[in-house]
């Protein structure tokens, strides 16, 4: 590298040509700028893909839409300012480039009218931006349910490094329905989400549905969301929360009201009892003293599995993804996850604390893993 640089600086002719190309206003420079601008424009077209799963350009609810509207408004204002100011800058440096070394330009020190106007003009632009900013801040802070619109309540709890969602049990008031990493909500309905964390900071963010709100220990934050399309929407923790922060993902599954009610009712059921022998063996391992899965995980209906440290697994088989949304929930991935969770999601606390992963003597055999996979897949 250094040799190359030495030789480069040595070949003065090459460098001279290169520099002349760069100097202002030669025909070559003009052509170069033209080509670059076309290339740049083509690249910018590639830039905004509303189809990207976390693109903020494809809002599907009023909160994200209001934030996007505000963004576009400020963007266009900023673009105009950008073009005008950079344009004047470029014009100035071309027009007033040095033509003679002996010429001293007039020593002007200022212009009061100009200085006052370029103070007031930005102030006016900013005042125009400030009005919708403030109204949107209040709109997004106050849930329409305060004005009487019907809403459902969900509590989202941030853990290191997964999400828990809790619903009020419609059949059994006072009870909670607990699930993990996939939040089902009905379409076109206001959902009030209460955010809590018993550990570190997190941030709850589903780009297509709503901008983020942080999850702060010892503080209860709230946000309201509403989705106007059915489908599965990706969310991700946006506040640095430790080693697996990048893999703290989740999904919001928006479905029709009827589908949502059916889902909630199914989640209220205790876990299905395994029937085939392999799954029965899996349950035995799950509740046994070698694997000790039960100390951290709840499987509703089981007398033993009532742990609350890890995700509730009562209906884990019905979820689309595992490991806080980073892998599709299929046999192969579940197997890999149970056999070596640290490889799938480095740093996760199950791999760091469970005896089966920390003590070689307690390691699960392939057969045991198969049985556990069969059991968990059956927990629909």
């Amino acid at each position: 590298m250094v040799d190359w640089l030495w030789s480069f600086s040595g070949s003065k002719e090459t460098l001279g040509v290169a520099l002349r190309t760069m100097s202002i206003c030669t025909p070559m420079r003009k052509r170069l700028v033209g080509v670059l601008l076309i290339a740049l424009f083509g690249m910018l077209l590639l830039a905004c893909y509303p189809d990207n799963p976390q693109s903020t350009f494809d809002a599907t609810g009023p909160v994200a839409q209001s934030q996007l509207d505000l963004f576009w408004m400020i963007f266009w204002a900023a673009l105009v300012v950008f073009i005008v100011v950079e344009g004047v800058l470029v014009y100035t440096i071309i027009r007033y480039r040095r033509k003679s070394e002996d010429y001293d330009p007039p020593q002007t020190h200022g212009n009061t009218v100009l200085e006052i106007s370029w103070t007031i003009l930005p102030a006016i632009i900013l005042a125009i931006v400030a009005v919708p900013t403030v109204t949107t801040i209040f709109d997004n802070a106050n849930s329409p349910s305060l004005a009487g619109e019907p809403a459902i309540e969900v509590e989202a709890v941030g853990y290191q490094w997964w999400w828990e969602f809790k619903y009020d049990d419609p059949n059994n008031p006072g009870n909670e329905i607990v699930t993990a990493n996939e939040m089902h909500i009905p379409v076109d309905t206001v959902v009030n989400v209460t955010l809590t964390s018993p550990n570190v900071l997190h941030s709850f963010w589903i780009p297509k549905i709503a901008g983020k709100v942080d999850v702060v220990p010892n503080n209860i934050n709230k946000l309201w969301i509403k989705a106007e399309e059915t489908g599965s929407f990706l969310g991700q923790c946006a506040e640095f929360c430790g080693v697996a922060h990048a893999n703290m993902r989740f999904r919001v599954i928006v479905e029709s009201s009827a589908e949502f009610d059916a889902w909630l009712a199914s989640q209220d059921e205790p876990a299905l009892e395994p029937v085939d022998p392999l799954a029965i063996e899996g349950k035995t391992i799950f509740e046994g003293n070698q694997a000790q899965c039960w100390t951290c995980h709840t499987v509703s209906g089981s007398a033993k599995a009532q742990g609350t440290v890890g995700p509730n697994l009562t209906h884990v088989g019905s979820r689309t993804h595992i490991a806080s949304g980073i892998r599709v929930n299929d046999q192969k991935n579940l197997r890999e996850w149970i056999a070596d969770p640290d490889r799938v999601k480095p740093g996760n606390l199950m791999a760091a604390t469970a005896k089966v992963y920390t003590e070689p003597t307690s390691k699960l055999t392939d057969a045991q893993v198969s049985a556990l996979v069969r059991y968990l897949q059956g927990l629909k």
């Binding site: 460098l15 400020i74 102030a123 901008g211």
Partner: protein, 621 residues
């Protein structure tokens, strides 16, 4: 002093070689020490950034582990802010302020040396953490409670705390020194409103430093007590509110942003008039907007906290104050363009960087206005959009200005020109590399890529722009390599520079390059802004670089070098480790050896410092 019966070693007289650098209290040499050290540390921060760019080049890469990645982004930011940009600013303060105000040195030359050595101690404590069990891993913002012992039992956070505390001492000492220097040591006739803009912006920065650092110092002491002595300032499991840290951090952290950018704005305000052959357009307004930015910098901290749930009233207030701070910033930009308008613009390398600064800072300023709108910021906060913004203001802004400043004042510092052709190549590589690296990050952020992620899945649509950004960072690195090449080539065989190589306007150009150690044979009398320019144009007889010769240079008395600033700083360096490492001797555990040794050295250093005479009696000046 001998009546006290304490034998203080004599001051070193005319030391040479290494001893000269270790004991110097000459502001110019200290400026060089600051500059070289900070540039080296800036390179280490750049290497940390390149590692991250390699890891993010494609989806699901495993070039580094997530733990190392977290250490990399923490160290990159902490390094660039505290060990790169701030001390490079300090290098210019040191070298230039006495020259610009017509003084022979700063008010407290030994304190100045102490600032440098303490800064070096803090920098080493931070950087050595890589080799002492792991670097800090909770981000440069260190949000509670993940910095607590419960979630972060390693020593990385401790190194981070101790390093920032030691660096804080250095910054406070330096800031007080420059405030006193600027208030008391200006040449006759140099009223505040005749001061060069760089000195003005440094003056504002120094006030920000002495007001901002105590806040972070208190927060760090609380965190240190939590980690070492079991207090519960930020321990959430004991009921602490972690937002306390965020408020303390950003009450410091936002003024810190202006601590980084105001000196850069000062540098640009020096380069533009010189290469346009025109005075600054609206000098009083530029000064005033700098002061207003300094004040308003205290009223916007919660815009870093728009998503933490402060409520709509607080968010609205901070959104509006944040938008308002764009006004004085805009005024500066317009005034800079006004400075060039009607001028005779030369495109030497320093000017290229200054124009680049304006062009890039406009982009950073506009994206700043975008996330001042708190509601819309909910989509941008903690995404790559913010990463793009901060790099446009801190790389396109601060670093471009610093490079411009290096090219501009290098002839003054060394008596040699940095190569102009390599300089142009340096500029274009950095300008293109900077845009290719950081512009796509706007797209990534708006497409939903959060910050501080060590990996991302395929299918998120982030692969392409991440690859582009990584390619850009290589171009950027090439630009920095060209600079290094230029630097060493110039030292070996650079073109000689006269005292006033650019037809400068301020007092530093009225003396030879490099300046003699006493700076001015005769302290000049100032009668104008851009006094040197006016003297050159109005009175041809004073064109000679050295104004006046009525005073013999042998009559100029400057204080002799001193050992004690270095000794005191060494004591702080050793003592800082005392909090972490104790000795166990048999049944007696926890003997604080480092704390006692370090503390004693510092005490001896301070005592000897206060007792040593200004000059050795037999010293010849």
């Amino acid at each position: 002093m001998t009546t006290l019966g304490i034998p203080i070693p004599k001051r070193p007289i005319h030391p040479t070689g290494v001893w000269d650098w270790l004991t110097t209290i000459d502001h110019k040499k200290i400026g060089v020490l600051y500059g070289v050290t900070a540039f080296f540390l800036f390179l280490t921060g750049g290497v940390e950034a390149l590692w991250m760019r390699v890891q993010l080049m494609g989806p699901e890469a495993d070039f580094v582990t997530p733990e190392v990645y977290n250490q990399l982004f923490t160290m990159h930011a902490t390094t660039m802010i505290f060990l790169g940009v701030m001390p490079m600013g300090a290098a210019f303060f040191n070298f230039l302020i006495p020259l610009q105000i017509g003084a022979r040195d700063v008010a407290f030359p030994r304190l100045n040396a102490f600032s440098y050595w303490t800064f070096l101690a803090g920098a080493l404590i931070l950087k050595f953490s890589w080799f002492m069990g792991g670097a800090p891993n909770a981000g440069w913002f260190g949000y509670a409670p993940i910095t607590g012992i419960e979630y972060n039992p390693g020593n990385g956070i401790d190194f981070w705390i101790l390093s920032l505390q030691v660096l804080g001492i250095a910054s406070l000492a330096a800031a007080l020194n420059f405030i006193v220097t600027i208030i008391n040591m200006r040449a006759p006739g140099m009223s505040l409103m005749r001061m060069p803009l760089f000195t003005w912006m440094s003056f504002v920065t120094a006030f920000l430093l002495i007001l901002a650092f105590p806040v972070i110092t208190v927060a760090l002491i609380e965190l240190m007590f939590d980690r070492f002595y079991g207090t519960n300032f930020f321990v959430t499991s004991a009921g602490a509110n972690p937002l306390l840290w965020q408020h303390l951090f950003w009450v410091f952290g936002h003024p810190e942003v202006y601590i980084l950018i105001l000196p850069a704005m000062g540098i640009v305000s020096e380069i533009l008039p010189t290469f346009s052959k025109k005075p600054l357009f609206g000098y009083p307004v530029i000064v005033l907007s700098g002061v207003v930015i300094g004040f308003m910098g205290w009223m916007v901290w919660a815009h870093h906290m728009f998503t933490v749930g402060l409520g709509p009233v607080a968010n609205s207030v901070f959104a509006v104050t944040t938008m308002a701070i764009a006004i004085p910033t805009g005024v500066k930009i317009f005034s800079w363009i006004g400075t060039m308008w009607g001028g005779s613009i030369s495109f030497k390398t320093p000017m290229m960087f200054a124009i680049g600064f304006i062009a890039l800072f406009i982009i950073g300023g506009l994206s700043g206005v975008m996330h001042s709108s708190a509601a819309s910021d909910a989509q941008q906060q903690d995404t790559y959009f913010i990463v793009a913004h901060i790099h446009y203001v801190l790389f396109g802004g601060a670093i471009f200005a610093i490079f411009g400043g290096i090219y501009y004042w290098f002839p003054k510092m060394t008596g040699k020109f940095l190569g102009e052709k390599l300089g142009q190549l340096n500029f274009w590589l950095m300008f293109i590399g900077m845009n290719v690296t950081f512009f796509p990050m706007h797209f990534l952020g708006l497409d939903g890529m959060p910050r501080r992620v060590y990996t991302y899945s395929e299918g998120m649509g982030w692969d392409y722009w991440n690859l582009v950004a990584t390619v850009g960072s290589v171009v950027l690195a090439l630009g920095v390599l060209v600079f290094l090449h230029n630097f060493f080539k110039t030292l070996i065989s650079g073109e000689e520079a006269p005292g006033d190589p650019w037809d400068g306007r301020t007092l530093e150009w009225s003396i030879p390059s490099p300046p003699p150690h006493y700076n001015f044979v005769q302290i000049p009398t100032v009668s104008d802004i851009d006094d040197w320019w006016h003297r050159k144009r109005e009175d041809d007889s004073s064109l000679a670089p050295v104004a006046g010769s009525s005073e013999d240079e042998h009559d100029i008395h400057l204080p002799d070098p001193s050992y004690w600033p270095l000794v005191t700083a060494v004591g702080l360096f050793i003592g800082a480790y005392g909090l972490l490492y104790t000795l166990n001797i048999g049944t007696f555990t926890g003997f604080p050896l480092f704390a006692i040794v370090g503390g004693s050295i510092t005490l001896v250093g301070i005592t000897a410092w206060s007792l040593e005479p200004v000059n050795e009696p037999d010293s010849d000046h």
